[in-house]
Symmetry: C2
Subunit: 222 residues, 2 copies
């Protein structure tokens, strides 16, 4: 399931090319970007069907042969921006309805979680979707909005890239507080984000607020 069309979301498809059957789900807007780009034809459509996410309501994820995977998802729009390579000048953070940035509710039997890898702003709608979830994965790109500039590795703010930061009054730490969420795990963490450093002040801050820092190979049982 592709939740947006940025390079970090879609370039992995090129590594899955040729010979490996799997079903690809995405919003129509994301599928449109893939369809218009000949490079993704390396994914043979006969064994990698492209399927549209239903705009609202639960749908069963199905394997290539049409059988049920046992996982159901419900997609919802979150604030985001157009992919970098589709920008036409201005900042272009869009309200979310255009389908280029998608959050997911996922359920299987009684287990349930939400996945929001990209989010430009924690709106009331996003909060409503996440309230009471046993588990939420959330966009942890930057700790401070200007950390890439301060570390002199880039010229962009998190806001400019379509990512709400962790710190600050409108940050995810404050905005996801008090929603009765079971576990809150940051993912999609940029290499400038000091929460990646064990023992850092920022790591302690997020842990004290009840958040976890995701890592490769993390295994969670629901």
């Amino acid at each position: 399931v592709l939740t947006n069309a940025d390079v970090d979301a879609i370039a992995g498809l090129l590594h899955l090319r040729e010979g490996t059957p799997f079903a690809l789900y995405a919003h129509r807007a994301v599928l449109g970007i893939l369809d218009r780009n000949p490079l993704f034809e390396v994914l043979d459509r006969r064994i990698v069907p492209r399927r549209e996410l239903e705009p609202d309501g639960w749908q069963m994820l199905r394997l290539v042969d049409g059988s049920e995977s046992g996982l159901e998802i419900r997609a919802f729009p979150v604030p985001g921006k157009v992919p970098l390579y589709e920008e036409q000048g201005s900042m272009e953070v869009i309200p979310g309805a255009a389908g280029l940035t998608t959050g997911l509710e996922i359920r299987s039997g009684g287990a349930r979680l939400a996945y929001v890898a990209n989010c430009a702003e924690v709106t009331d709608d996003v909060r409503r979707r996440l309230a009471g979830m046993p588990l939420v994965f959330f966009d942890g790109t930057l700790f401070h909005d200007d950390e890439m500039i301060r570390q002199e590795v880039g010229t962009k703010t998190g806001r400019r890239m379509g990512h709400v930061s962790i710190a600050g009054p409108a940050g995810s730490l404050a905005a996801l507080d008090g929603l009765g969420i079971g576990r809150r795990v940051f993912l999609h963490i940029n290499n400038t984000n000091p929460i990646l450093v064990a023992g850092s002040a920022e790591r302690k801050t997020v842990e004290a607020a009840g958040f976890e820092v995701g890592f490769d190979g993390m295994d969670i049982a629901l």
Copy 2:
């Protein structure tokens, strides 16, 4: 220097996106494919200039700021095919002049080598280019033309993919024999190729013929 436009040659550019200055060299045909694909706009053209390979003759590779790298290259066409994602039905192995598959002679001071990562056929012209070289890196995709089919991991022959195989009367082992080349090293080796297995009969065959099997981190002083 991109020597063709297949996904395995160009997808790595997406990992180099944003912030890292480097100069990109390729044949006009390859640059055209990149230029037509919006995805590669993640490489900021202000810090990643795209430069055309001179069709014939030596040229100095230059850094982003225009200064000399100390490496000179001379590109030459080799038989190849259009990239998979640009195929329009038929096999489309092309004679080479279209610029979609390029070999390189590289020199610096008195040192000299040739690099041919993709080659559909070892023609007399290719042989002439490689004769007498102190070092040649050469396309080692498959050992047997039909090994992917025999191993049941694919339906394509090497020939269909635009790669001459190592074995057989027209294979690279025979075709690169007797040319007075110093060291001959296979690279671009597919994971079905048994020369990757130390001690295999095929590895012994290529080593007995005076070829080496390239590996990650290989270090050669000329």
